[in-house]
């Protein structure tokens, strides 16, 4: 202990304390603060970068998911449109067929009616012509043969019979 006390030098103690305190303050200002700030800043930036990367990864994932959803939707849409188109086509064909059939029916009906009418007209015409022809014939016959009474009566009877058959 005596030796320790004897070794103790006031001057050295004084200088050590003075220089060390100055060193603390000078280093604090010129070294430790800038160094620790830089280290903190770097750690912060690394952390931020990692977080940003994580965020980007998540975003990417969600983007991919939504892409897939969109793709799926598009596929469904396409399917739907195609189906609609097919349906439309079938419907149009069916409608066209229906319309055509109706038209054809109508044409047939009117053709039938026309034919009937023509036929009636033709029959009438024929009847008329037959009548006038008969009259003509009758006139002629009458003109020549009506001199004989029996012949007249036979003639008339024959004609009437013919007409009846018509």
């Amino acid at each position: 202990m005596d030796k320790l006390i004897n070794d103790f030098s006031i001057g050295l103690f004084f200088w050590q304390s003075l220089v060390f305190l100055l060193l603390i303050f000078v280093l604090k200002k010129y070294a430790w603060k800038p160094i620790l700030n830089a280290v903190n800043e770097r750690e912060q930036s690394i952390e931020d970068a990692l977080k940003a990367a994580e965020k980007a990864r998540l975003e990417m994932e969600s983007l991919q998911e939504s892409n897939e959803a969109i793709l799926k939707e598009a596929r469904e849409e396409r399917e739907r449109i195609l189906k609609e188109a097919r349906d439309m086509k079938n419907k149009m064909i069916a409608e066209a067929k229906d319309a055509a059939a109706t038209e054809a029916d109508k044409a047939i009906v009117s053709a039938k009616a026309a034919i009937e009418a023509e036929k009636t007209a033709a029959i009438d015409e024929l009847k008329n012509q037959a009548a006038s022809l008969s009259i003509d014939v009758a006139e002629k016959i009458l003109g020549q043969e009506l001199s004989a009474e029996n012949k007249q009566t036979a003639m008339i009877g024959k004609i009437i019979e013919d007409v009846k058959f018509n």
């Binding site: 320790l4 070794d7 103790f8 030098s9 006031i10 001057g11 050295l12 103690f13 004084f14 200088w15 050590q16 304390s17 220089v19 060390f20 305190l21 100055l22 060193l23 603390i24 303050f25 000078v26 280093l27 604090k28 010129y30 070294a31 430790w32 603060k33 800038p34 160094i35 620790l36 830089a38 280290v39 800043e41 770097r42 930036s45």
Partner: protein, 394 residues
Amino acid sequence: MISKFTALSAFVGFMFFSAPVAAQDHGHEDAHYEDAHQNDAHSNGANTVESHSSEDHHDTHDTHSEGHGHADFVPASDTEGRKAVVKETVKHHLADSYDFHIVGPVGFPLPVILIDNGLKIFSSAKFHHGESVATVDGEHYKIHHSKIYKTDAEGTMLLDEAGNHIKPLDFSITKNVFMIMFMAVFMFFLFRGVANTYKKSLVPSKAGRFLEPLIVLIRDEIAIPNIGEKHYKRYMSFLLTIFFFIWFLNLAGMTPLGVNVTGNIAVTVSLALMTFFITQFSGKKDYWMHIFWMPGVPVLLRPVLAVIELIGLVVKPFSLTIRLYANMLAGHVVIMSILGLIYIFASYTAAVPFTGLTLFLYVLELLVAALQAYIFTMLASLYFGAAVEEHDHH
């Protein structure tokens, strides 16, 4: 980096320790030049040369005042004499000094500052390496056992009324003070340089690559766990400064310059006292409660605990002081003593294992240098942590 440094310092260390002995050998050399197996021994370290001289006639030799300022040539047969030389060398090496001695005659004087009937500032060159009396403004001073004493003109130490030798108040820039100042400047430029590299890029470069992990280590492994996220920032400057200061000075002590700053009690007392005062001034209510009126124990026990806690308060800085001082001092003493054994045994058989052992201890001391800095910083932060801790009261 460390290993290169180790190897280099170890090498330089050997050269240094062998220097005074080598110098003596050279004085010897002229007389015994013809002696067998001398030449090769000189080339590799010189310590072992003495083996041949045991049966030599011992002429008188000049005093070699350079080197550590000790010793005439002591023959290898005189084991006791050589032990004394080693002891003196070790003692001299550990003590503070008024001039900065590097190697052989190379060195420079440092300013001596005394307060003795006014301020007296003069160069330590006036002492002529402690051999002569320095006369300044009519007062006479002499260095005795690495301390300055007041003497009369003839160099007889003066006594005060109580019969003690008179020592003037000494604020000299001694070798240790010089090293402290040098280290402060070195640290300033080193760490300011590191700080400046961050202006360019947040990625550390140059010395920062090596130092930044240490700074982060002190923050993440010492400060934050011991003091807590909330308060640790206030103490970072102190902890970082003290860690690097102690570590660098410990390492400087491993160089052959013989600086023994952290192995000096005045230095460690100063560091421990700062830690002590910072702790007390940052003590919160809880801290003082735990010292004077410990919650959670029977009331009768509380005064007893207060006494124990108060003793603990004083013991803490004391243990900080002694731990660092004793560790560093012991390391120096052990290394130099084992190197000294080579000189005492004076044989090849001793030189090889002791050189190896010294190298081993040297590497161990490099570890201790870092470890002691770490422990000091760790304990300081532990004390700060206790001071700012807030307990949830039950």
